[in-house]
Amino acid sequence: MTLRPELDFWHPVLTSEELGDTPEKVRLLGTEVSVFRTAKKPLRGGGTVGAVLDRCPHRGASLSKGHVREGCVVCPYHGWSWAPDGTGKSPGNPDGRFRTQAFDALESDGAIWIKRAGTAVPFPRFDVAGFLEIARFRRRVNAPLEVVLDNFIEVEHTGNVHYVLGYDTHRLDEVICKVETTPETVRVYNQGPQKPMPWALRKLFRYPPNAHFVDDWTTRFAPVSSVYDQYWIDRLTGERGGDFLRNAVFFTPVEDDVTDLFVFVFAEATAWVASASTACCSSR
């Protein structure tokens, strides 16, 4: 089976919460993959996971409808089992040598990631040291990757489409938009008048009156992802005021016309806030 070249890169395919102790079928660039935990789901932190083509090479059953035994996914049809490295065993053919397409898989940052087995590409880290995790979620969008990405790397739409985070449509001409590129990255820095925000949210984010909202992101393409820094500055002094949000969004193409967003939301936090939030609201 020929896999598309984009599969060389690590892609998030599920949030950690979405993968229990039974296999799950995911689609990545049209390829159906069975993802499974090779050991019981840990209460905290990353576990060990495996991923193989969802189609059993014996008679075509969907392996994601099977179960996991001794770290292998077991086919629900004839009981053949498949290890994370792609080697297979058949109860009725103990001397047989069988093999399926396997994928590299790991659990990190609250998500399950897969790529083509054996490719030497770095894992896409994003720096959130000193930040408090606010949320992480997956959202499916029925549109091609390019169209979805376009929306998330320009701010002109925020005036009409967004509720609070963005710029006032009637003052978009005041928004500074700088683009800096390297061969591997595109950075876009936007700064302009914050669109009107309800009083309660202004108090939540604690930004100064007449603040300028800054939305500063860098997009990378191996895989496709953007990390956004969002904060406010005093338009006169240029000094930062209020909160600082850092969001990472990964764009995973499910099919040519379907894209999954994996959103990781963080906020800069003092130790007091981190401890209070952990005690009251932690989801991990």
Binding site: E154, E156, C177, F221
Partner: protein, 82 residues
């Protein structure tokens, strides 16, 4: 200034809610587009579209490995422009 009282307790749930709300608004708009073709050649573009244009080139070269198909817009941006 440190964060105190109710504000500290509401930061996480309210920001999470707000993040989801904004994403939902984006998704609703994207899925409702009259034309969801990735082709942008022939579109009339403005100054805020320079980032997307530069990204198209890199997506085609780095992510798609130059494969023709979905991302065949062929639009080039002068990357010296900042």
């Amino acid at each position: 200034m440190g964060r105190v009282g109710l504000n500290s307790l509401l930061l996480k749930p309210l920001t999470a809610w707000l993040g989801r709300l904004e994403i939902e608004a984006d998704v609703k708009m994207i899925e409702g587009l009259a034309d969801k073709s990735p082709e942008i050649r022939g579109n009339q573009l403005g100054r805020f579209d320079r980032g997307p244009l530069a990204s198209r080139n890199r997506m085609r070269r780095i992510y798609r490995r130059g494969v023709e198909g979905l991302d065949a817009a062929g639009v080039e941006l002068d990357d010296s422009e900042t």
